[in-house]
Symmetry: none
Subunit: 416 residues, 2 copies
């Protein structure tokens, strides 16, 4: 039979009381996904007897059942006996485990530890170099299936190495070789629901997609045959317009950082509506002092005049949210700093007012013609406008350094 679906049961009353946060679930799930398994459920239950019906239910719907916890000498030891019962076998002592544990704990083995030498008949112990409870694995018959069951102790210092060193190789072999065929893309400025609509629209047979919403981007995963995955991605990129769907897992700021580091170029910022967010994201990067000179936060018009030399004429005629002001801000900070690149943002972050979401971006560069473009983001509040403006500033700055005419680019950004 093919082994593909996995159910994970994690036992620990401290977990269901919220005293500690489970970390096994995501570690196991991520390793299993890489091996080509599908995790159908992760269930966390207390040590109090709930485990038996949960195991019984879980075993019905999966090919592999992984259980952690409930093997310690002080627990009620329901894991061990529930698994034996499900498998329809008695618990029997393993002589070599008895000898090993006797060496470890001596006469105390005849106390609470004794149960740790007992395993469901036909199951194989899994060595535990870091504790007194070995794991075990074997088969639970369920209907016409033979479910593989693996039990491991709960403490991370015992479970993690046992899983990585002894269980992963077994599961890899069980699955056959793991070619899960999966690509990841980073999607910028497009909303989650719009992205999903666009993926539906692309809809290539045999390609499955999934999204993960992150702080400043959406990760898009494609699975399926390689040629089809590539065709899906290329159609999606055509639909979204340039630079909004990027191969791999990248932050927008990293795309700019790479260009700055490669070219040994420096950058400065002149921020109005983003109020420091652009600088903050640039300086989140360790080593940013190599390429970030500094910047001006010019919220008040007077700050734009005094710190960046924006003329009174510009501010009083076209106002601070304008092409002229964005250009003057970018040129102002670049002149003062003599940096290779400068970025300016000026717009309406809201939450209220007419043109909320309208942001002008200016770019100036040593020996380059300055450029400014305006984007109009749909506002889901101040934070959303500012985040999008920061991301856009990095994408636009990267394109600016590449010599792209920004106006041509942004007019293809229909879905931001």
């Amino acid at each position: 039979m093919e082994y593909r679906t996995v159910s994970i049961c994690i036992i620990g009353t401290e977990l269901t009381r919220g005293v500690i946060t489970d970390k096994h679930g995501s570690m196991l799930a991520s390793s299993l996904s890489r091996l080509g398994y599908d995790v159908e459920a992760i269930t966390i239950v207390p040590d109090d007897g709930t485990i038996a019906p949960v195991l019984e239910e879980s075993v019905k719907g999966c090919d592999v059942l992984i259980v952690t916890g409930g093997l310690g000498p002080t627990s009620d030891d329901l894991t061990r006996s529930s698994i034996a019962k499900l498998a329809g076998v008695p618990l029997v002592q393993d002589k070599s485990v008895y000898d090993w544990l006797y060496k470890k704990v001596g006469e105390r083995i005849h106390g609470a530890n004794l149960v740790q030498t007992m395993f469901p008949e036909g199951f194989l112990p899994i060595d535990n170099p870091n504790g007194t409870a070995p794991g075990f694995r074997g088969i639970i018959p369920s209907g016409d299936k033979e479910v593989v069951c693996i039990a491991m102790p709960g403490p991370p210092r015992e479970m993690d190495p046992m899983f990585q060193n002894l269980v992963v190789p077994y599961l890899a072999a069980l699955r056959g070789h793991d070619d899960t065929g999966r690509d990841e893309y980073s999607v910028f400025l497009i909303g989650e629901s719009k992205l999903e609509e666009l993926c539906e629209q692309v809809g290539i047979d045999g390609v499955a997609w999934g999204t993960r919403f992150q702080d400043y981007r959406i990760s898009l995963y494609l699975t399926g045959e390689e040629g089809r995955r590539k065709a899906f991605a290329s159609r999606l990129k055509e639909l979204t317009g340039p630079c909004l769907v990027v191969d791999g897992d990248h932050e927008a700021v990293s795309l700019l950082e790479d260009r700055l580091s490669e070219g040994k170029r420096t950058v400065t910022t002149a921020e109005s509506c983003t109020g420091g967010l652009v600088g903050k994201l640039l300086t989140d990067k360790a080593g940013s002092s190599a390429w970030f000179w500094g910047g001006a936060l010019t919220y008040a018009n007077e700050a734009k005049r005094k710190m960046l030399g924006v003329s009174e004429g510009v501010l009083s005629s076209v106002g601070p949210v304008s092409e002229e002001c964005a250009l003057a801000m970018a040129e102002g900070i670049r002149t003062e700093s003599e940096s290779d690149l400068s970025i300016s943002t000026t717009g309406f972050a809201g939450p209220t007012g007419e043109d909320v979401g309208k942001v002008w971006f200016g770019f100036a560069g040593k020996g380059m013609e300055p450029q400014a473009v305006c984007l109009h983001f749909t506002s889901y509040g101040r934070d959303s406008v500012r985040r999008k403006a920061a991301v856009a500033s990095f994408l636009l700055a990267s394109a600016f350094l590449d010599g792209v005419r920004l106006l041509d680019m942004v007019c293809k950004w229909q879905y931001i």
Copy 2:
């Protein structure tokens, strides 16, 4: 009937793939335990149809069913329909949610968002100020029981406040708390484990405490009889030193904002190691243009000289991370802007190097003696140092405006 047992279902393919680690489970479990509920199981399932049988199974064994995730504007939307099906009712549109969402997203409501206006008949929507998917709650009949079902969106920035503000009071009443007496405090700059040690140390009989780790603070909840709660808080405040434990739910930046707004005062910033984070947090606030003039991000020494007038002598003798430089930065920006208050930060954010976590803060004010203090944060990485520095800058600036001698204050901050 008595409501005591809870089952939590968490939906997210990124969780069962191990791409991200679930945090809802432990947060919900810990809050529910404090309210006197027993969490019987936390089940994490992918977005792919597994949810229906899991909900069906869960509802059998609990009095309260809590579901998070699967309410986004996705094609699947199985949470909503599975709950309706379990409750035996159709999905119906809620007019007031429709109107609210129309205001938020406009005509796009007729796309993927439309489903977010639909709820199982008889269920009540739960407001979501931070997203487009309201939660909902209602009754699922199961055998002779009426199971209370509460569904909330998955993203933590939406789910956390919805749960704490709207669901906890409901669940407290449902559990029959006669004394729901509860106080909330905001704790700044103290680590989670240290705070828990301090709470253990305070340990007043009859007072239960719980913490919720947030981005820039920890929320501390105390329950129990009022006099004892107050005694607990007052002992804790003595232990931590001034200004680090504040009554109510407040961001550090809001404490400063209140003082600025009340006094109609303006503020400017001169940031080195925080690189824009202080400005970003100030301008996160709607209406900040009333009191935020602007600031300088001076990462390079040359930027400190050119933009703030820090003397070459200071930079070459004591260097940029020094009392002298912090004072010169604060005075430089205040003089240029004529603002009422200015804040400077200069330090080592790391991640590597000698004095990582050492940050000097400078404060200047109209008609006030400037002050500078140095803090040395334990470094858990660049991000942690910068966050703490930003929080400290707001706490210190607030105290500075209150006329406090900062050096006296920070020498009592033993646990930061």
